[in-house]
Symmetry: C2
Subunit: 150 residues, 2 copies
């Protein structure tokens, strides 16, 4: 079950410059930043609003830390812009399985670590009408096991 737009992931060449742009233009503030070595990104989360599931919606700014990362390849091909969208769910395993049942391919056989120790998976953009789609379960979300959640 999807309960919110969790974030919009935006690929940028210079994280500090993009942070400055969003602060100057809209007043958005960084509420969290980290380096995810597995994904090869340095990232900043800008909180935009709270959501009625008790979570929030963010912009996620993503700068590559190495040339073989997904974001570096995206930038080389497309330039800066929206890289993916992410839906929040209380159970990423169950929601991923629900999507898989309809024939959508997932990128990881099991969830990986996302921002702030969330659990994430991605749905293949070719199966989602061109939209790379992330499913994200917050670290503090209820975590029913995949066995009894459906």
């Amino acid at each position: 079950m999807i309960t919110r737009i969790d974030h919009i992931g935006i690929a940028c060449r210079d994280l500090d410059a993009s942070i400055e742009f969003y602060k100057t233009t809209y007043g958005f503030e960084v509420v969290h930043s980290e380096v995810n070595e597995e994904q090869g990104v340095r990232e900043a989360m800008l909180r935009i609003n709270g959501t009625d599931d008790g979570g929030a919606s963010y912009l996620q700014l993503l700068e590559p830390t190495r040339e073989d990362s997904t974001i570096a390849k995206y930038l080389a091909k497309h330039g800066e812009g929206v890289h993916h969208i992410a839906f929040g769910t209380p159970d990423v395993v169950a929601t991923t399985e629900e999507a898989t049942r309809t024939g959508v391919r997932v990128l990881y056989p099991a969830p990986r670590r996302g921002t702030s120790n969330s659990s994430i998976n991605f749905l293949h953009p070719k199966d989602c009408h061109g939209v790379l789609t992330e499913l994200v379960q917050a670290a503090d979300a209820a975590t029913p096991s995949s066995a009894n959640s459906h």
Copy 2:
């Protein structure tokens, strides 16, 4: 002032097929649809969650109605995918002027009609690190005049 992610605008070749995809994969429902002849689009809004400013966040699916429309050109160049992001504001004129003051170009000299009689403008993607960015004021939002709102 921005108070929410209002929607993510997604370009699609076949609106009915995309609606079916989002319904089957996630259970999302169409809460509004319309044809905007000025923009040259047939569109559907899928409500994802409520937001703490009293509004909501949507996916906006956009199919072109004519070949010279912005969405048709986007599809020809990029294929299906995320076309723009939209931030909600109680005052689109004031928020647009705030962005302009920082050097960002806007697409329209005055707001135009968007979905459900909202008032919208767009910020130029080249001034927004590659992200075509819409500002949207809902039809039922408080409407201070631009003269006294800042």
